[in-house]
Amino acid sequence: MYIAVALALVVTMGLALIRALLGPTVYDRVLAVNMMGTKTVLLLSVITFAIGRPDFLDLALAYALINFIGVLAVLEFFRKRSELDPENNTKEAE
């Protein structure tokens, strides 16, 4: 049961990775990273129960709390960049 869930999550991670690699826009990549983070939290939680050590849930908790910071840093990065260079802020990274 756990293994089926874990497999599904790993496949989803693979798909998210493909989106992160292909892009093409910044938003695709940011969303892919965010999704990857969520899936990692879930994967770690599933594995803790699969191997019977729920005390390791701490790790999933750490990710759940911290993932948000990376997204905010991206937002701040583009805000700063658009302040410096107003025309360039919608330019899509290839």
């Binding site: 790993v10 994967l43 770690l44 790790l59 910071i69």
Partner: protein, 322 residues
Amino acid sequence: MNLIFGIFLLTLMLITGIAVVRTKNLFVATTLMGIFSLLLAANFFLLDAADVALTEAAVGAGISTVLFLSALSLTAEQEKPCFGGRLLALSVVVITTLALLHATLDSPQLGDINAPVHQHVAPWYIDKTPQVIDVPNIVTAVLASFRGYDTLGEVFVVFTAGIGVMFLLSHYPRKKPHKPHEGLRHYLIQRLVGRTVIPFILLFGFYVQFHGDFGPGGGFQAGALVAAAIILFALLEGTDQAIHIIPSWFLNGMVAGGALLYSAVGVAGMLMGGNFLDYSVLASDPVAGQHLGILLIELGVGITVTGVLLSIFLAFASRKHF
């Protein structure tokens, strides 16, 4: 089963790693590095190395992305084209890879019970930890007590790295106040969510700090988590506000104070008749002394790591664009 998951995650890591090297856009490389770190942590976890995975989670998920992006905001987004030297680089990489692959042929299989480490090193720690130190997490016992010297060295490495970055990047506060950095103060959703999350990250950080004897975690992880909480605050409210709350003299004190606390525990052991970093003499009962020593040195580690990570972040963030 773990093996299949491990191989799959390693393959994804390999693909991500190659993509990071191939891409010319540094922002894309940064986001891919975030994915790389997530995959790495999941891999560590599959190998049952929860403490290492927690470190990777605490540093890789939040702080390294933030640091990469703040470095990136000081430079151009595209990698400079590089000509020549490629054959040399390729040959060095190929030779190193072949040498490493050759070395893995001699190393024991994963989980082989006849591996040297399972013959005398690990059994000794498993045997001695309940008697001498009596903490459930043997990793903490090894890291903080049996191998306290190595960890002291690591703390000083972190300390030195922090000093190095401060030498390169730190600035004198300007006399005339420039336009204050406002952060994401005007983004309502982010601000509300962030302000709600910060106390929980801090609480979790302290839990990891003081629960390190019993579960995964310890000073390094806790330091990174606490630093992440304050970095989140700085992102939301602006770095000026963060510097106002944690002034640089206090940060410098943290950077040096944690390392000093660690060394002081070692010297205290000497003064009380033991060896350097021998905690057994710190209390009348040797096991209680070990517990006290581990608590104090983990606190020292946590303080230094928090201080160094925050100093590096603020050094980057308070610099203007070139």
